[in-house]
Subunit: 345 residues, 2 copies
Amino acid sequence: MTDPHQPAPPRPTSRDVARAAGVSQATVSLVLGGKWPGRVSEATAQRVRDHAAELGYRPNLAARNLRLGRTRTALLVVPALTNEFFARVYTGAAAVAAEHDFGVVLYPSPDGTGPARAPFASARAALDGVIASSMASDALSALHGADLPLVMLDSDPAGTDAAAHVNLDIADGMRQVTEHLLGLGHRRFVHLASAVDTWTFAVRAQSVREAAGRVPDATVRTVRAPLDVRAGREAAEQALAVTGERPTAIVCDDDILAAGACKAARRLGLRVPDDLSVTGFDDLALATAVEPELTTVRLPAEQVGERGMEALLAVLEGRPAEPGSLPVRLVVRGSTAPPPAASRT
Amino acid sequence: MTDPHQPAPPRPTSRDVARAAGVSQATVSLVLGGKWPGRVSEATAQRVRDHAAELGYRPNLAARNLRLGRTRTALLVVPALTNEFFARVYTGAAAVAAEHDFGVVLYPSPDGTGPARAPFASARAALDGVIASSMASDALSALHGADLPLVMLDSDPAGTDAAAHVNLDIADGMRQVTEHLLGLGHRRFVHLASAVDTWTFAVRAQSVREAAGRVPDATVRTVRAPLDVRAGREAAEQALAVTGERPTAIVCDDDILAAGACKAARRLGLRVPDDLSVTGFDDLALATAVEPELTTVRLPAEQVGERGMEALLAVLEGRPAEPGSLPVRLVVRGSTAPPPAASRT
DNA sequence: ACCTCGACGTTATACGTAAAACCTCGGATG
DNA sequence: CATCCGAGGTTTTACGTATAACGTCGAGGT
């Protein structure tokens, strides 16, 4: 138990190491920076390293950042970390960053549409670049000083000055879901859509309608809800409480909404999947926690983060970021089945 | 579309602003730092602010950090962000930080026990302090340079050199759960425990046994599993497949494990809660997504982050951090009921 | 008329690092 | 023997900011 009020011993600087090793500060910097082959003898280098280790020297990052004008730090802008998808994106980005001795700092925005007022400065870090996930580009440019390289994830490829895009083939995912249901015989759909108004959800909506539109007698009714279980349940209950022919399948923008839809079904006395098929999107942990397990679309969330970080690193090094969108995969589980006999043609 | 290869226009510095406003750099610094009452006339101050805004000046944080020796940045160490609990802790910490113009950078460790080798340096930020959540203190001290103020969350209050602790009354939560089940008439328990070996889980185990121990004929069998649904299901299946008298309640260390236990029950043809009661812990979104909704213990996760950050700020300012542990609350939902008649005394 | 004293700024300096530019000296070279 | 050269360093500078220390100038007191 040491006195907590001793004024914190000043950390050793490279000059301290130099003094201890009997060399100049520049030499320490060269050795520890790995720039010494041919400039410093092996003997001296070792001596420097030894003393650095002994003193517990660790370079002052603020000083280094100032000197180099780069910080090896990227900002990741996400709508909400409590959404597992974004947590996984972060995890992937952070992993790749760590490999390249980069850091990732987060800028979460409470609402889904992006941070409202405070600029990135509130991230309290000097940044080398920005990675923005699933955001409305206008909300972003208000914050984006335009002076930092920008990589956009899962966002509209057109109309932004992003240096690179990493996209998921959302349209294909939703097409696979819809065709899966069509193939099972469903014709009357509800699309339980996110109330958030971003590109990634717009694509979902369009894709469902397109796929269903190719089958003459298929109908799609859209309802929207915020991304939580209760809201999803309420919206689904409302959509199911129709007079006349009940829809036989609910296509959801998200596993969370799908969980809500399942609860709605149960409340109305409908069995999933016998009376009603439900599909999710994202393949979160939730998808296999509920009963029945959700038929959904697996998104490689970590990979999105990884590719995003790789793209940013490429841009920072002047290399071109390789484009291309990531494939997604339909995962059929227990929440989908052929429609009940009474509803078949 | 501008040429992506133009070498990034250098950001304006305080000196640029000074030149534009016809004052010295020091004056700019005084004005923008808010230290000007009595040192700079209002007219001059306004002129400086105008030119700063026009040039789009933003102070170089690296330089400021170097000069001040403080960075207004805290490190939050969490086992895994994909666990909603920690995402919420982060959210709370970041919110309080933002209010005080502080930043939070994360250090996630893949396994639950804490980062293995890389020191905090890989967070790539100059730090003012560290907040560590639910960690084994020895894993931490290996990383902790001992030169930074440390606040520990949900960790053993004894035996560390932390400057402050923010704890949840975990023991009380588990006691409430157990007594709730005892009150319903349960006597044969399975404690489905986390395989992670940290204080917070040790407390749960001890508390279950203590509470059950006060009732003569109550028995507790413990099984352990990693924190995911499948592992929870498998462990629960094994625990339920006993010969002789089946347990009537499964007390889980976590909602995720509880979801697994529910799935196990269904597989074995047991109904929850009629044949088997299941309880969770944390009250994640998951708890109300599954059917039946989980009886669980609500932990004020955001508040843990908030209080942690407040404690760190207090320590940094030399103020004493007010101690005390946060209360938790039993939330009774649909996954618990009296044991089946055949099992009653 | 001289000193004092605020009000209003300015000059100078330090933070710790990286790296360009510069020394020094012993041996190889012409 | 003068010269070049490379190995092995050192000296110096710059990064942008915050602030301590130091002017300057006009008004007010004596």
